[in-house]
Symmetry: D3
Subunit: 250 residues, 6 copies
Amino acid sequence: MHLLLINPNISASVSALIESEARRSAAPGTTIEVLTAPFGVAYIETRFEALAGAWAAAQLAAEHHGRADAVIVAAFGDPGLDALREVLPCPVTGLTEAALASACLLGQRFAIVAISARIRAWYRETVAHYGLSSRLANIRALDEPLADIGRVQQDQASRLLDLATRCVEEDGADVIVLAGAPLAGLARSIADRLPVPVVDGVSSAVRHAQLLVAMQPKRALRGSFAAPPIKANQGLPEAIRVLLGSPPEP
Amino acid sequence: MHLLLINPNISASVSALIESEARRSAAPGTTIEVLTAPFGVAYIETRFEALAGAWAAAQLAAEHHGRADAVIVAAFGDPGLDALREVLPCPVTGLTEAALASACLLGQRFAIVAISARIRAWYRETVAHYGLSSRLANIRALDEPLADIGRVQQDQASRLLDLATRCVEEDGADVIVLAGAPLAGLARSIADRLPVPVVDGVSSAVRHAQLLVAMQPKRALRGSFAAPPIKANQGLPEAIRVLLGSPPEP
Amino acid sequence: MHLLLINPNISASVSALIESEARRSAAPGTTIEVLTAPFGVAYIETRFEALAGAWAAAQLAAEHHGRADAVIVAAFGDPGLDALREVLPCPVTGLTEAALASACLLGQRFAIVAISARIRAWYRETVAHYGLSSRLANIRALDEPLADIGRVQQDQASRLLDLATRCVEEDGADVIVLAGAPLAGLARSIADRLPVPVVDGVSSAVRHAQLLVAMQPKRALRGSFAAPPIKANQGLPEAIRVLLGSPPEP
Amino acid sequence: MHLLLINPNISASVSALIESEARRSAAPGTTIEVLTAPFGVAYIETRFEALAGAWAAAQLAAEHHGRADAVIVAAFGDPGLDALREVLPCPVTGLTEAALASACLLGQRFAIVAISARIRAWYRETVAHYGLSSRLANIRALDEPLADIGRVQQDQASRLLDLATRCVEEDGADVIVLAGAPLAGLARSIADRLPVPVVDGVSSAVRHAQLLVAMQPKRALRGSFAAPPIKANQGLPEAIRVLLGSPPEP
Amino acid sequence: MHLLLINPNISASVSALIESEARRSAAPGTTIEVLTAPFGVAYIETRFEALAGAWAAAQLAAEHHGRADAVIVAAFGDPGLDALREVLPCPVTGLTEAALASACLLGQRFAIVAISARIRAWYRETVAHYGLSSRLANIRALDEPLADIGRVQQDQASRLLDLATRCVEEDGADVIVLAGAPLAGLARSIADRLPVPVVDGVSSAVRHAQLLVAMQPKRALRGSFAAPPIKANQGLPEAIRVLLGSPPEP
Amino acid sequence: MHLLLINPNISASVSALIESEARRSAAPGTTIEVLTAPFGVAYIETRFEALAGAWAAAQLAAEHHGRADAVIVAAFGDPGLDALREVLPCPVTGLTEAALASACLLGQRFAIVAISARIRAWYRETVAHYGLSSRLANIRALDEPLADIGRVQQDQASRLLDLATRCVEEDGADVIVLAGAPLAGLARSIADRLPVPVVDGVSSAVRHAQLLVAMQPKRALRGSFAAPPIKANQGLPEAIRVLLGSPPEP
């Protein structure tokens, strides 16, 4: 099984974290490929940045999905996930969707620990989009500028642990979700210091992608995830044109 | 006052409808400019098409907002609206947001009449995103392929009127929202044949944009609509780089 | 265009504040008329007071709407608004409804700053009635008796500013709504000291009333805002009898 | 125990139905007094009519509550109930509130059968106000003009029974609520022909009023049902002035 | 009238509290019988303990309901209540359901004061199951191990009072619900020291049971509270077999 | 990896279906063990039957979990799942929870196809308990008595397929969930005849159980899924006593 993880951000250091955790999480025989967005920002905190990341992810997915059994949008907030689910012939998931699916099987209410205060609004809206607001205990976040997005785990481990503890003690969380690709893998190292299960986005996404591939779900022919009706288009990247079912542009 | 309307689709015929209705709705002294997406699809029915349209709208907004007092995303579903609200220095609104704001001041429950069955899922999610699901009576839609998106009003007027009537009689709608830029202006011509107020997206957006400009709202410095924190980026269109506060790429 | 603003309270000093802000907000050529309730209380904080105000507003509207292009219920909480929308032939709006419509076009989550702790329950229920609870970040309020309802802006400006700031910093509000006719106009003077857009009820209502008049919405003949079915009545003020479609009482 | 039932409508024939069912439902030793609104309409179907009824009920309650152990607002939709709960020293309830409280102890989802199509919007909003929308299976209603509001039970019994049956078979209702004072007592006569429990508003309100009196609940001194803060007022009926804690007007 | 109260826990001391408060609350002529679970735990704080209590309650109800006019599940959280409502021929209620029904007639928002921090999740889910989350102001709880469940009222009275006060002052509760059979009767003794009405589970359940008996509701033949369809079963306690409509097992 | 599936019903024929589908779904090297409830009913349609099944499942889980890496409650509706999650040291899931988790990764709105009309209320409440009501398109069900619960797939295949098709065409479902252990495996055989992905409860539960085992989640020490506080108990089955942390009963 070949899994394609798309980092919708430009940070190669985060892609390395993603790849490392994905390899640790994947079942034997699964191959992991991580692509980094050729354009965009260092990490997504806002709706605009998510839009840029979604479009970058869409292009990468269009170009490279052919060799993948499943595609993972490897940023918390899942930029572009719903859109890609309409057009890709294989299963696709994202870090948030998969992490919440895991969290919901480990407890009734989950809390999210995030890397920046600004990012909370986008995460709150993502949880609401998935219809899971009633199961969200809280979103707590670091509130200082990040010196190096690739080193936030090391630099901020104790503060992240403290935030997670407060989610349990003060917010009644049954499960902690460590949010954001820059935290990929942190769950392994702090699990022992938390009193509740902790969920990692990348490993959840890898495992759920594998689960979806094993299910061999039929591609939707009806409903809102069937391929978009074919219609006139122009100016789109060639791979996206093909995804939309168009003949090559003259 | 100069209003910039961005059609996130490639259809010049729809842009013409938008422009025509916008001019009829605008207050004296307001100038109207409609831009058509240089890339994308003929009209948006799905999440993927909305993503393409959002990115096209973002680029056009980035390039051209300088001369505008307000920007309007001129497709129902408001692709990219929340994202643009973060980065543009002027007010920005969209057809759905504005139409619902109008509808909510004319009745308790509104229904949406749409041009394709497929489009309903995207509209339903848009209404949910605005927190207004409890005020949505129903979404009814045409269910045949559209021969010519620029002529759907003429071709389908009686069927649209029938759908609207059923929303009132069967779904308990107090107000009808005619959804989609291709229906721009239809509300004027069928208002007399409907027993409840009918709301048009383009004219609502023009009027709400004018209202927002008149309010002179301060640009957010905090909260989730402040400008995104400045961070490393690469590969973005120059105008978007500038919106994100970056110095020119070397 | 002639706008009729009805202060459902007996405070002439508040009517003066309403009138002043309404004039500042109205488009050129719009005339403003403010009526003060002949019976009721100094300001509405509770459901019972709102009921008295609603009935006073209904009587004033019944008597005076004939010369108005639109009617505004000029108290936060919108006492009687839904009821008047059923019976008046012209558009009608209220301070809360209009302020929230504005706020929702400036951000995702708004907070309300109010003049008394007691008033919060009524406001919370008003927001819930409009289906917007999911967009309400918090309601914060002064918690001391008000010496002079007509001078609360001057007397309490710094405390109100502090409450608004906490709504942004602690509650994640994207927009602040200054609630209550006694605060009419305050938004103008403190906007510069707040980091997010601030919305004023009176100016919002004036602008939305103008917008509704410009839309020329058809009066509902069906749905829940059509005129009440004609039926036997007795003992009602003459103007209300007429609104209800009754012949003069013998 | 003395119960004061206030018919917020002017129909003496409906008051007679209310009184009859109230007497049948009351515990031995309970005395029943029914007052009919001196002004208002024949029966309430709309928000405006509810406002008139609420104000009439408020005046009657203010004048006559002194001899009552509890007060009942005897119209479905409970016009003025929340307001009266703030100002009356004794327990107060209403037909809808009490009927829903009974229904919720007999099943998970209830349906409402009503006497007019128009009335459904007001009932839906009433249920929503009580936070019980998730337990509402449907509201079905007669859809013809009522020849005589005092004889709707007799004239329409079979159609009401048919509506109730459809609520069970098609909407999944566990319990039927017969809504509206004009249907007072009908539940007794059709209970045998329905396959689920049926709830009557008047008898529910009488029983819940008795229950509340037995509880001897303390009058709220804090929270949103404490008496409104004393403040200037003018022009109010004397009994209402007293309820608001004011000294007699000079 | 004979009321059967089932303590789903094994604590005879709590049964004594239940019985005492039930007798004080019951109408003259009502006889009270309290049964204590023959198996289970001392008091229910968790979902697993609630399951054990529900099964114990089911067995007791099956064996003893024959002599009862109504059955009360006498633990907050109402273990097994919905299940018993399906199979018992008489009305059945529980402490939470009845307390919330009372609370909702005394105010808009209630708060729950509970005897252990752990118990809050189960209570929150119970309130949600009844669809009343929007009326729940907060759940506050003691957070120390309980030395003697039968003496928690005496041992913790002042702390419980303090929690209740904070629910009013900080959470905006209109009504306080004292939760848990171990607190049966406490409401009487602290009512004077609280500024809002206070509701007791046992007395509410007794009164609501009496109300339901007086209603003489028809047993459901359709809907989700009709008796379960008869089908093969095995190994069940004889009394439960009979409840399920089975002939005696050979 | 050893998975323990507990059929909370007494039907060996359904256990055989469960075992067959579980073996087909499990990863290589996973061993499958299916236990059948020693007491209870043939299949669960109601809350009371679910309670009996939950208690039977609890006992089996208590006795046999020691050799399992994860436990699956193998009935739709997940009787006892939340309770078992508190007390078992290994991961535990259920057919509904797992099927919905899968469905939510394949589309936005799912529909459930069920084997009896009566069962729908219980399923609706189960979906609500998981907070997923907003993603539920509909629940459609067979409405005839089932001749043989072990043969419902064969006997009713075409009717089930028809129900599923209507969920897509009329209810807008993106995904179909075939509900109930008696339908275990049907998804494989009808997937080709449905236009959207179809989810099977048993295979979903097996795959999610494997996923959870792979995650190696820490057992909760805090929050609402930590082991219940140790307290006095009596009369419980020995294995359950041990689960509750009690020393052997003398």
